[in-house]
Amino acid sequence: MSKVSKSSLFGGEQVLFLRLKKHKDKQAFIEAYDLYIEQVYRFVYFKIGSKEDAEDITSMVFLKCWNYIYEGKLESHDTLKPLLYKIARNTIIDHYRQKQNRVTVPLEAAAETSDPSLDVHSAMVSNLDFQKVVQEKLPLLKEEYRDVIILRFINELSVSEIARILGKTSGNVRVLIHRALQSLQATVNQNEDHD
């Protein structure tokens, strides 16, 4: 993505943030889309477990983010990445509320029935068995644990970035990550023991 690399050359995320905050630069937002689309989609997908819903929600996240910037609500303490994740989390919550009566396909079921053309899924199932197990067990974790597992170990965000997204202190996030990892490990190993 040439636009991302061009943006990185001139100061990357900070320059994008300033262009968006001061000038509400539309082109800068498209560059931000190129920069963050994959990680936002991944976050949503691993939370939702449905390709179609993940696509819809991710589209909505970027549009909501643009409206937020356009209305001049972008504060100096909000860099773009944490803002996108915050909006993504809220949009997922809204999605669950709206679709309460709709039958959703859990992530593990999606793994069995999903479209083989979906690259993210095919990449997962073609990997080691451990990965498949992790993928299946992730939806069984508490919401908060799942958030930190995806943000820290899949999307590789820093502790301070996660703290800003979740509205917690860095210390609290470290504890949360530790407990989430223990919980996932216990769930995965429990499954292995039964096997």
């Binding site: 539309k26 937002f29 209305e71 690259d119 993210v120 990965q131």
Partner: protein, 229 residues
Amino acid sequence: MKTMTEKELIKNLAALKSASINPDWIKRNREVLSYQIFNGAEYADTKLGFFERFSLISKRVLQPTPIAAFIAVFLLVGSVFASRNSTPGEPLYIAKAISEKAQLVTAFNETSKAKLNLEFARERVAELEKVTSNETNSSEARVQELSDGFKKQIESAKARISKIESNKKAPVSEETNEVVSAEAGKADKGLEISLPAQKALEEAEKLFNEKNYNAAAEKLEEAGKQLEE
């Protein structure tokens, strides 16, 4: 299958990152997003109209202004009324001085201003009587201040009366002979008015210097009446 260690777990989680997303969808969605933000249809509702903006401005900025102005006017009028009977040395005397200056500035013509000078000169006489009758409040500095104030008002009144006289004397010219003759009666009348007024003023000044304040005040009143006529 063997038990997964924490390290292996983290490694497998990180491997999930390598899974790529459908590039066609990313491209399609990019086009849709570009269309949405460049056309601006989605945020049209968030734009405020002129009256909404005006209403917000009036609530935040304009609303406190009339209240502050009302309070300022209320305080000013109140202090001017309260200062009417004040004498030098009292806190409200400054309001009285400001009020007198304001009246002089806003007076319409020289006659009105001269009348105001006479009125203020009478005020100084009244204040002087009040100050000298009150032993505790009496001081040489205050008496001197009031005397100077009186003389200043008299001088101003004299100057204004002279100005009125000079304005009423029509210029002598062959070309404007008709005008001169038309104005001649009025000029004479002006002279008739101002001369007794000036005489009364001089008498008032003399009485004031003799510390005959009541008589001085009466003469000032007389001078004022001459001006009114």
